[in-house]
C-alpha cells in the first residue's frame, strides 16, 4: 500500500457559539485504509464527518480530503467522495436501476459507464431480476448493500459510511463488510463509523472521539494491549466512561 494520505486533519475545530463540538482533532488516513471513526453519541463524530465531506465549514484548523482543501475546494471534495448513512441512502419510490442511473448521472458518469456499472452491481449483489423493483420493497440488508455499492459507483477516492449496518441481521452485516473489504482492496479508502465494536476490529486503524477530542488512535490490536482489554468493546467502554459530555 502506498502511504499516500487521503485525509489529513490538523487541529480541526468546530464551534457552535460557546459549544466546542470538535476540539482540535489531528489525524491522517492513508489510501486504501479501512479507518474506523468511533465515539459515543454527542462526542462530535457526525460534526467531524460533515466537515470532512465538505458539508460544514470548520471554525479553525486545516484539513484536506483527497488532496482538496475543505475550506476552498469543497466542490472538488464532493466530486471525489462517496457517502452513505443508515438514515438515508436511496430513494424508496424509485427502482433499483433508477437509483443507480440517478446517482451515476449525478456523479457525472457517461451513459455507457452507468450501464456497465449497473450490470456489474446487479450481478455482484445477486439482484438479478430485481432491477425494476422499488427500493422500498427490498429487505433492509439488500438496501444497505445496494446503497453502499451505489455510493462507490463512481470509484471515489474515499467513501464515508455513517453507521451503515444498524439493525441488519448478522449474516448480512458480514456480507456488507465483505463488500467493504473488496472496495478497500481496489484502493478505495473507507472511513466508517459504527456502534458495533466487533466491526471496529475489522478496521486497519481506529480513532475514538470523546467530548470532541480524539482520545485514542491506533490499530485495534495495539489499543487492546494498551488498555489491557480483551475486545474493542472494553476499550471503548473504558474511554467512553470518562466522558463528561453525554448530551447532558
Amino acid at each position: 500500500m502506498q502511504s499516500e494520505k487521503v485525509i489529513t486533519a490538523h487541529e480541526l475545530t468546530k464551534r457552535f457559539g460557546d459549544f466546542v463540538a470538535v476540539n482540535k482533532i489531528t489525524f491522517d488516513v492513508e489510501k486504501g485504509e479501512i479507518f474506523g471513526f468511533l465515539g459515543a453519541n454527542g462526542a462530535g463524530k457526525t460534526t467531524a464527518m460533515r466537515m470532512l465531506c465538505g458539508l460544514l465549514l470548520p471554525t479553525s484548523g486545516q484539513a484536506t480530503v483527497a488532496g482538496f482543501d475543505v475550506y476552498k475546494q469543497n466542490e472538488q471534495i464532493k466530486k471525489n467522495i462517496g457517502y452513505m448513512s443508515q438514515k438515508f441512502s436511496l430513494y424508496e419510490d424509485l427502482t433499483v436501476s433508477e437509483n443507480i442511473r440517478f446517482y451515476g448521472g449525478i456523479y457525472g458518469l457517461s451513459d455507457a459507464h452507468i450501464k456497465e456499472k449497473s450490470a456489474l452491481l446487479v450481478k455482484q449483489l445477486h439482484l438479478d431480476g430485481q432491477e425494476k423493483t422499488l427500493v422500498r420493497a427490498l429487505p433492509l440488508g439488500w438496501k444497505q448493500k445496494l446503497a453502499f455499492s451505489i455510493a462507490i459507483v463512481h470509484d471515489p477516492a474515499i467513501v464515508f459510511l455513517d453507521e451503515p449496518t444498524g439493525g441488519v441481521d448478522p449474516v448480512t452485516r458480514r456480507e456488507f463488510w465483505g463488500l467493504i473489504y473488496e472496495a478497500s482492496a481496489r484502493g478505495i479508502t473507507i472511513f466508517v463509523t459504527t456502534h458495533y465494536m466487533d466491526e471496529a476490529e475489522y478496521c486497519n486503524r481506529v480513532s475514538i472521539m470523546v467530548d470532541g477530542r480524539i482520545d485514542a488512535l491506533d490499530t485495534p490490536a495495539n489499543l487492546m494491549k494498551d488498555y489491557s482489554a480483551a475486545s474493542m468493546d472494553e476499550v471503548f467502554l473504558q474511554l467512553a466512561r470518562k466522558a463528561v459530555r453525554s448530551g447532558d
Binding site: 439493525g167 441481521d169 448478522p170 456502534h195 447532558d248
Partner: protein, 306 residues
C-alpha cells in the same frame, strides 16, 4: 399461570402487490420474574409480536394471553396492568421529565410518590434534569425516562421493544444493569433487541428471523446445541484469508468476527490440520488458530442457514 403465553400467532400485512408474512406461527411462554429476550434483526417480526401482545394489533390467527387475559377479548384488563416502551422514543418532547412522569402516573391512577421506590434507582440519575424538556435529553437519558414512565404503575409485565437501539455503549450497559435490578421486584420483562450480545444478559431468549423462531431456550442451552466444533483463525491478511477458507469444499461457513474469523466445517471432525494447510497454501503470515466456544451470534447465524 404464566405471565405470557403465545400460541401459534400468525400475522400478515399486505403492501400494494404482495402479502408479507410478518409472523409465521410463533409459540412460546414466559415465566414469572424472567428476563425474556426476543433477539433478531430488523424485519424479523419483533415489533409486530410486541404490538400483538400489548393488544395494539390483531393477529391473523393464533392465541396469546398476558397474565391469563386474552389479548383480543380482554384487552382492557391487559392495558391496565402492563408497562410498554415502544421502539422509538415515545414520550412528549415538549413536556419536562417530571411532567411526563406525572402524566403517566396519573393516567394509571397512581402517583409518582406511590411507587417511587420502584423507580428510584433509575430516576435518581435523571432527577437533576427534571425540569428539562424531554426532547432535549440525550439518548441514554430518554431511555431511562421512558423506562420510569413504563414502570411507574408497578406493572406485572414489562414490554420493552428495542430499548437499546441507537443508544451509546455505556448507556446500554447501564440499562441492562437496571433491568437486572428490576427482576428482584418480580416483574416479568420481555425485551427485544437486534444486538446479539445482549442475549447472554437474558434468562431465556427466543431467536427470531423472518417471522420464525429459530430457537427458544436459555442462552447456555442454545450454545450447548451448537454441535459442530468452532474454530477461530487470524492472520495478517484477513480478507484474503476469509476468501481462501471459504473456497475450501470442507468448509461450511467462514465469517469475520472482529479480530478472528470463525470457521465451521461441514463435518464434525476437528479440522486444525485443514486450517493449517489453507493458511500455508495462501502464504499467510502470523497465523493463529484456536478452537473456541460459540457465542449467540454464531448460533444465530448457523440456525439462520438451516
Amino acid at each position: 399461570m404464566q405471565p405470557v403465553v403465545v400460541e401459534n400467532i400468525v400475522q400478515n400485512y399486505s403492501t400494494k402487490k404482495t402479502v408479507v408474512e410478518a409472523l409465521k406461527g410463533i409459540s412460546f411462554t414466559v415465566d414469572r420474574g424472567e428476563i425474556f429476550g426476543i433477539i433478531g434483526p430488523d424485519g424479523a417480526g419483533k415489533t409486530s409480536l410486541f404490538r400483538i401482545l400489548t393488544t395494539l394489533l390483531l393477529a391473523e390467527s393464533g392465541k396469546a394471553t398476558v397474565d391469563g387475559f386474552d389479548v383480543v377479548t380482554d384487552y382492557k384488563q391487559i392495558r391496565n396492568r402492563i408497562g410498554y416502551m415502544p421502539g422509538r422514543f415515545s414520550l412528549y418532547q415538549d413536556l419536562s421529565v417530571e411532567e411526563n412522569l406525572q402524566f403517566f402516573a396519573t393516567i394509571f391512577n397512581t402517583s409518582i410518590q406511590q411507587n417511587y421506590e420502584l423507580i428510584k434507582d433509575i430516576y435518581q440519575q435523571i432527577e437533576p434534569f427534571k425540569d428539562r424538556k424531554a426532547g432535549a435529553l440525550s439518548g441514554g437519558m430518554k431511555q431511562k425516562l421512558a423506562l420510569c414512565c413504563a414502570l411507574i404503575h408497578k406493572p406485572s409485565v414489562l414490554f420493552l421493544d428495542e430499548p437499546t437501539t441507537g443508544v451509546d455503549a455505556v448507556s446500554r450497559k447501564e440499562f441492562w444493569e437496571m433491568l437486572h435490578r428490576l427482576k428482584e421486584q418480580q416483574i416479568t420483562i420481555l425485551v427485544s433487541t437486534a444486538y446479539m450480545d445482549e442475549a447472554s444478559l437474558c434468562d431465556r431468549v427466543a431467536l427470531i428471523q423472518k417471522g420464525e423462531l429459530l430457537s427458544v431456550d436459555t442462552p447456555k442451552n442454545i450454545i450447548g446445541q451448537f454441535k459442530k466444533p468452532l474454530w477461530a483463525i487470524r492472520a495478517d491478511e484477513m480478507y484474503k484469508l476469509m476468501n481462501d477458507i471459504a473456497a475450501d469444499p470442507a468448509v461450511e461457513s467462514c465469517y469475520p468476527f472482529g479480530q478472528y474469523h470463525h470457521v465451521v466445517f461441514k463435518t464434525q471432525e476437528k479440522r486444525r490440520q485443514t486450517l493449517e494447510e489453507i493458511a500455508k497454501g495462501g502464504d499467510h503470515a502470523n497465523v493463529e488458530i484456536k478452537p473456541i466456544e460459540p457465542n449467540i451470534e454464531d448460533c444465530f447465524m448457523a440456525l439462520m442457514k438451516d
